[in-house]
């Protein structure tokens, strides 16, 4: 007999098992673990502390009862609007790397393959993402799409960004499990943009990325989410940062009915740093839930987080930031800030800093603020002839730009400006 809580998981497994490809790139032990976790723990409900504001079990029961797992073929025309001129564009279509839609790699020091490059026991997949830690890691591991493996060679500073487009086009309600493994060898540097698009029917995108940043390496990554009203997603990043290295991410949520981001960074090498930034502008009945974990395992490292949300309509925003400073992680500097604007009476923001500190010589702080739009500033602008609508746009843009300005790819920044302007 199966436990009550795993009924949803069982249903998912049953309905997609027959249509899923046999996954050869994840080793058998990991596969077994993943399935076992799903069968015993199930899909989290709001009773699960980490999913308190994001009842995934309910979402699956209501929105993803029947999974068709039928997809439209993605064409060049479909992906064209999301390619960036100044980048190497790679496409993951309905969960699988589509080499035919991707740019040819002519830059030295980059290896791009599908996940079949990894085989058997030596596969690094799941080395940074344990199925025992989260149901969505387990779900992805059990039914992973054949995503992308990127390796940047030692000491290679890649002069142009890589832009990965994850695009889904379901014929009918479906679940997609895109996955990648990004490895920066020692001394390598890369700017990575990851864009999430849905052009088909209702789709649940359960994305999982493992990112290994070796010593002296630097990874600057952008996550741009625009999956629209038919898009539901869990976006999990499992990052490991080596010594003297830098990992930065800026996540901007432009749309998506439900967006859950799990951004987990393990700071495993001394003298490294990591910055996480987030921006979400929500409306309607959207739910955007950002969970971050900064796991400081070693001394002399720095982390900084800035998450900003503007909540309109009946939507909900969540920021839960956990900073974990282990016993050995002396001289840690860890900061966290969550700033929010409530634009409507029916919107909700839940923000929670969680500091667990086991070292005694550290600097850690957090701050959170939630308020309405600044009435004094609004009046000042109006007193200069600027109308209500433009004045609000100016103030919201000012609020958002603190995060949006982190995006250093010009064409992407321009795109964001246009899209954000529609949301103000």
């Amino acid at each position: 007999m199966i436990a009550e809580r795993s009924i949803t998981a069982q249903k998912i497994i049953e309905s997609i098992s027959s249509k899923a490809n046999k996954v050869g790139f994840i080793n058998d032990t990991e596969l077994t673990n993943a399935l076992q976790y799903l069968e015993t723990k199930g899909i989290p409900t709001n009773k699960h502390e980490d999913y308190k504001y994001c009842n995934m079990d309910a979402v699956f029961k209501k929105e993803f009862k029947n999974l068709s797992q039928e997809f439209n073929e993605i064409t060049n025309e479909d992906v064209k609007p999301y390619k960036l001129n100044e980048a190497i564009n790679l496409v993951v279509a309905n969960g699988n790397y589509a080499e035919n839609l991707s740019d040819k790699i002519i830059v030295k020091g980059i290896t791009v393959k599908d996940l079949n490059v990894f085989t058997g026991k030596k596969s690094p997949l799941a080395s940074l993402a344990s199925s025992n830690s989260d149901a969505f890691i387990a779900l992805n591991t059990a039914f992973s799409g054949n995503g992308i493996a990127i390796k940047i060679d030692k000491d290679q500073v890649i002069p142009m960004p890589i832009n990965i487009i994850y695009i889904n086009s379901a014929k009918d309600t479906s679940l997609v499990n895109p996955r990648n493994f990004i490895h920066l060898m020692p001394g390598a540097e890369l700017t990575l943009s990851e864009r999430f698009i849905n052009i088909g029917k209702k789709a649940f995108s359960n994305f999982l990325s493992e990112k290994a940043v070796d010593e002296n390496a630097k990874l600057t990554s952008y996550t741009i989410q625009e999956e629209g009203t038919e898009g539901f997603s869990v976006n999990t990043n499992q990052v490991k940062v080596g010594k003297y290295s830098t990992y930065d991410n800026t996540t901007i949520t432009l749309s998506g009915q439900l967006v859950r981001n799990n951004h987990n960074v393990v700071i495993a090498g001394e003298n490294s740093q990591s910055h996480l930034n987030g921006l979400f502008l929500t409306s309607g009945t959207q739910l955007v839930d950002n969970h971050t974990l900064m796991d400081h395992q070693v001394p002399n490292c720095e982390s900084n987080e800035l998450y900003k949300g503007a909540i309109n309509g009946k939507s909900t925003g969540v920021f839960n930031g956990k900073i974990f400073v282990r016993k050995d992680a002396q001289k840690t500097n860890a900061y966290q800030s969550s700033k929010n604007i409530l634009l409507s009476d029916d919107g909700t923001i839940n923000t929670k800093p969680q500091l667990e500190i086991y070292a005694d010589d550290v600097k850690c702080s957090h701050g959170t603020s939630t308020g309405k739009i600044d009435e004094n500033a609004l009046f000042y602008l109006k007193a200069r002839g600027i109308g209500e609508v433009s004045a609000r746009k100016l103030l919201l843009a000012a609020f958002a730009n603190e995060v949006a300005d982190k995006i250093q790819i010009e064409s992407l920044r321009t795109h964001l400006e246009t899209e954000l302007n529609k949301l103000y």
């Binding site: 600044d374 004094n376 500033a377 009046f379 000042y380 602008l381 109006k382 007193a383 200069r384 002839g385 600027i386 109308g387 209500e388 433009s390 004045a391 100016l394 103030l395 843009a397 000012a398 609020f399 730009n401 603190e402």
Partner: protein, 253 residues
């Protein structure tokens, strides 16, 4: 230009303005003086359209139109300008973007096309000189990190750019050293013409040595209790506000 009749206004149920009457014609400079708490800043806030205040009685005609019916932005678009006593800092909004938006919204309201980029830049340059504002400040966020004097100069700079018909200077002299005061006053003097008018609200006579008013009014307890020419300001400076208070209380008694 502006005609204020029997204006009463209150905040949180407390009456601050108790029947103000004032007529300002084109080409005139009026000074309004008065002790703290007499209602000077309330008057400027009510005229600019701050919603915290409730107008309970009276009327204000601006260029023949009912000012109190208009939104704050429409008052500005019709040519009313308030130089704030405490200019607001707006992080993230650049002065340039702010001014361009303001100019264009005013132009659209008045049926004009948006300003050309080169004309806008020329305008900025010209007016910067007028108020001796550091060009670097224009590229920064609105008033963010500005010193007290820089904020006040930025107000006059904005005024110079927007060229209002009626400008109300709300204690623009407060917190200014003598050099900044001179710069601000010079700005106003260069901008005054027979087609515009100024209401200068001040606590001290000092500013009026530099901006010479045609009329001086003394505001006390929500009313204009005395009006005269520029000599009234000197008289006030010599005798202080206590004299006014005594006289006023005698007439009330």
């Amino acid at each position: 230009m502006i005609s204020i009749k029997n204006l009463h206004a209150s905040i949180n149920g407390k009456e601050i303005l108790k029947g103000i009457n004032l007529d300002v014609k084109a080409g005139e400079i009026h000074a309004i003086m008065g002790p703290n708490g007499s209602g000077k800043s309330t008057l400027s806030s009510v005229l600019a359209g701050r919603e915290d205040y409730e107008v309970t009685e009276g009327e204000v005609k601006f260029m023949g139109k009912d000012l109190l019916e208009m939104s704050p932005e429409d008052r500005a678009r019709e040519g009313l300008f308030l130089a704030f006593q405490y200019p607001i800092e707006i992080p993230g909004v650049s002065n340039i973007n702010f001014l361009k938006t303001a100019i264009n919204e005013i132009r659209t309201y008045n049926g004009k096309e948006a300003i050309e980029a080169k004309d806008f830049l020329a305008l900025i340059k010209e007016k910067q000189k007028l108020v001796e504002l550091d060009a670097k400040l224009t590229n920064r966020s609105v008033n963010e990190g500005f010193s007290g004097g820089e904020k006040k100069r930025n107000e006059i700079f904005q005024m110079a750019i927007l060229e209002p018909k009626l400008a109300i200077l709300d204690e623009t002299d407060s917190g200014l050293d003598i050099d900044a005061l001179r710069i601000v006053a010079n700005g106003v003097n260069k901008l005054r013409s027979k087609n515009n008018a100024f209401i200068v609200i001040t606590h001290y006579q000092r500013l009026l040595e530099h901006i010479v008013p045609d009329f001086v009014h003394i505001l006390y307890d929500g009313r204009i209790v005395k009006s005269g020419t520029k000599e009234l300001a000197l008289e006030l400076e010599a005798k202080g506000y206590d004299d006014i208070k005594h006289q006023f209380e005698k007439t009330q008694g």
